[in-house]
Symmetry: C2
Subunit: 161 residues, 2 copies
């Protein structure tokens, strides 16, 4: 499996992953009714941001987007988001995407990477981020409505470079 | 002084306040080169959000915007932003705007209000928020480049209703 830059022809495989993740409503605070056009505008970054795919041959197993977390006086801190296809989970795709994003952000000269809203019950993601060097800055209690667990917290996580 | 809904004719007084605040680069992680059109799109909310002005007669002293902090499973938590004209500070305009936003968010049925990026050296704002019931969930170290103090922290603050 390798990580490479998103190309327009990847969209046919990326959109089903986004659609599946967003409709599950258990990991992303995105509008579950988001259209393909809205998803494209949200997910496919223009420079100075970047969108990538994790591929095995011609098959896309996951995707990530990254860029500055805030404009202006906050633009030295990066952020990133990751989605992995349901049938590709537990095989290191998220870890590979996270490491690639961190490498990219370091090369771009960012001072660190911040995640603004990590659902606390998303254990697989939280464990990857902790292992890759992030810490939990704080948790906003009940800020995410989980479909089966009710109101759960959203972690703010940060990795200083 | 009273708080009322923003009307298009207020823009002639609101834009100079936004421009002054954003160019100072000491309280908002906005692009300091933001145009009037970009500022209008950023600041003037459409429903379910709301934008207000603090007025004394015909004079606008400050402005606020508010709405859901995140879409989808995060839309039960509100957020708000406040700007006060430099020559109107220290007279309770920020407190009045903050109370109005909290009242509105409660009436709308939100579960709480979150601020995502409060510059830790903006003591006047932090003190108002603490007094009005917010707590600091955590502080992202060095996430804001202050023009005279270097890299300072950004507080995530939350007020559960």
């Amino acid at each position: 499996m390798r990580i490479r830059a998103f190309a327009p022809q990847d969209w046919a495989q990326v959109w089903p992953i986004i659609s599946e993740v967003v409709r599950a409503q258990d990991t992303f605070a995105y509008d579950p009714a988001m259209s393909a056009d809205e998803a494209y505008a949200t997910w496919v970054e223009v420079p100075s941001g970047r969108t990538v795919v994790a591929v095995d041959g011609t098959r896309v197993h996951g995707t990530a987007k990254m860029g500055p977390n805030r404009p202006g006086p906050g633009s030295h801190v990066s952020t990133a988001s990751f989605m992995v296809a349901a049938d590709a989970r537990g095989r290191g795709v998220g870890t590979a995407l996270c490491r690639d994003a961190l490498d990219w952000a370091r090369r771009q000269g960012y001072a660190g990477m911040q995640f603004n809203a990590v659902v606390e019950t998303n254990r697989a993601a939280v464990e990857v981020y902790l292992r890759e060097g992030f810490t939990v800055i704080g948790t906003v209690p009940g800020a995410f409505r989980h479909p089966t667990r009710g109101r759960v917290g959203l972690h703010v996580m940060y990795h200083e470079f």
